[in-house]
Symmetry: C2
Amino acid sequence: MSTEANFITALRAIATSPAARGLADDAAVLDIGSSRLVLTMDAIVEGVHFLGDDPPETVAWKLVATNVSDLTAKGARPRGCLLTYPLTGDDAWDAAFLCGLDEACSHFAIPLLGGDTVHQPSGSPRNLSLTALGEPHQDVAVPSRNGAGPGDRLWVSAAIGDAGLGLALLKGELRTDHVSHDALVAAYRRPQPDPELGLALAPYVSAMMDVSDGLMIDTQRLATASEVAAVIELDQVPLSRAFLMTAGGDLGARLFAAAAGDDYCLLLAAPASSQSAILAAAAMCKASLYPIGRIMEGQGLSLLYDGEAITLPARLGFEH
Amino acid sequence: MSTEANFITALRAIATSPAARGLADDAAVLDIGSSRLVLTMDAIVEGVHFLGDDPPETVAWKLVATNVSDLTAKGARPRGCLLTYPLTGDDAWDAAFLCGLDEACSHFAIPLLGGDTVHQPSGSPRNLSLTALGEPHQDVAVPSRNGAGPGDRLWVSAAIGDAGLGLALLKGELRTDHVSHDALVAAYRRPQPDPELGLALAPYVSAMMDVSDGLMIDTQRLATASEVAAVIELDQVPLSRAFLMTAGGDLGARLFAAAAGDDYCLLLAAPASSQSAILAAAAMCKASLYPIGRIMEGQGLSLLYDGEAITLPARLGFEH
């Protein structure tokens, strides 16, 4: 087990408040007075979550978007954020970052409320930390990862794997046509969580989270938290036109997509009786939902491709 | 003007929500539903806010306490915190930090709700970031820095300068007896904000903040925010027995204390008509308040010592 996993296990022993949700959900859910609040804090690190030559504007976008994605997964409307920003002496980078921060905060309607600056040695990988808070429905349970039940269908809210291909393109590991290139790089650099969709779906789902570390590993986590088994039908996983043009749509491509991570779309489980409600909610938000599998009695993740069972690959996504 | 000052000026142009208080207060104040919330995010950096050989338990304490100090200054009861923690591969340091974190969260009754871990190169200065949220009185205005008015008295809630002497002792810049040494080092490593005192005082103050960068510079900020003049009577500034034993109580010692910073006590302005109320509130909390000066028409900070005007020193505290 990694140092990080040990550390998080030790943190869980401290974070015993029910509001912390065992540090096992996308966000904390806290009651203040008669109001409920969703809180998340996600850091992004150069070389891990973004590339050193990514435009600073897109680094700011990604920092805000990854936190907004957590709020979205809990059906919470963004209400504010606080930033810890590392100053490295690169004024041009800082100025470009602030342009992107302003753009992202406006786009997601999440006001910047405060924060702190720290000095970081020039040349060391930038660590940027954001706290975001959101307001969920006050009369509906905040969706967690642990409510999925046998018979539920699994859905995602966007094509899977684009960001992973965008990263591979930026690392020079493959090539594609210009139009696909730009779409896939944009998917990596500018995740597009949709808080309105999370709010609209929250009343009808049995479990909801965002796909950040990979569709397979995140589905496995949802199943584990819910103490059920999950099946992903790989041939049903939605792939974008840019993905298909670049990597095709065969089993290998689909396994790549389902392990790639950085999708920052919604993964949700809902009973069959809620199907029309969730589809109507998505349509109201001009969004799409794609059925990708189902929940059953048991435990663990399994994969199907054209109805045949597929052996789980060694790597399901990013572990930490 | 420093890069940091320029950066914060540019951040202010983005942080236009009234909840952000112009990034000029100790914390943000946000309404969620029918509830009011106080939010702060303070980072501490090795070599800046703590020393590389400070015990990790006390680094955790300081991280929590500095954030709780911001909540205290806004009269908010701590309700939760989120941590961004840098893993450097030093398991013993991490384990000791967690012990201190558990102790501090228990002491200040501030549950750990979530956060994130990041990997930081071994040997680079640790950056630790915490977000804290608190619940103020729902029926009383949250104290700001900008409400002081002519005729108000200025008060602090603890002896000034101990932490600054503690730092000087740790850096080997001076010596003292063992008892004083331990008390002063503890003041540097283990700030003792008192949220109950902040809550009790909030209804009666015209302005309140914490003393973190130095009594003089923080008083100047309060005066500037309130568009008034402030006078500190240096001979009235409370000094601890350990401070007096180590540095004496002459003008030079008092100027050192008033520029030292890291006090993490309250600085408040209150009209004469509230004097008995604030003293009663402090007594209820078994705390003391010390009158250190007054607010007048005009602008800027001035100093008195035994009734004589003293030239402002070049350095009033930590600028950033």
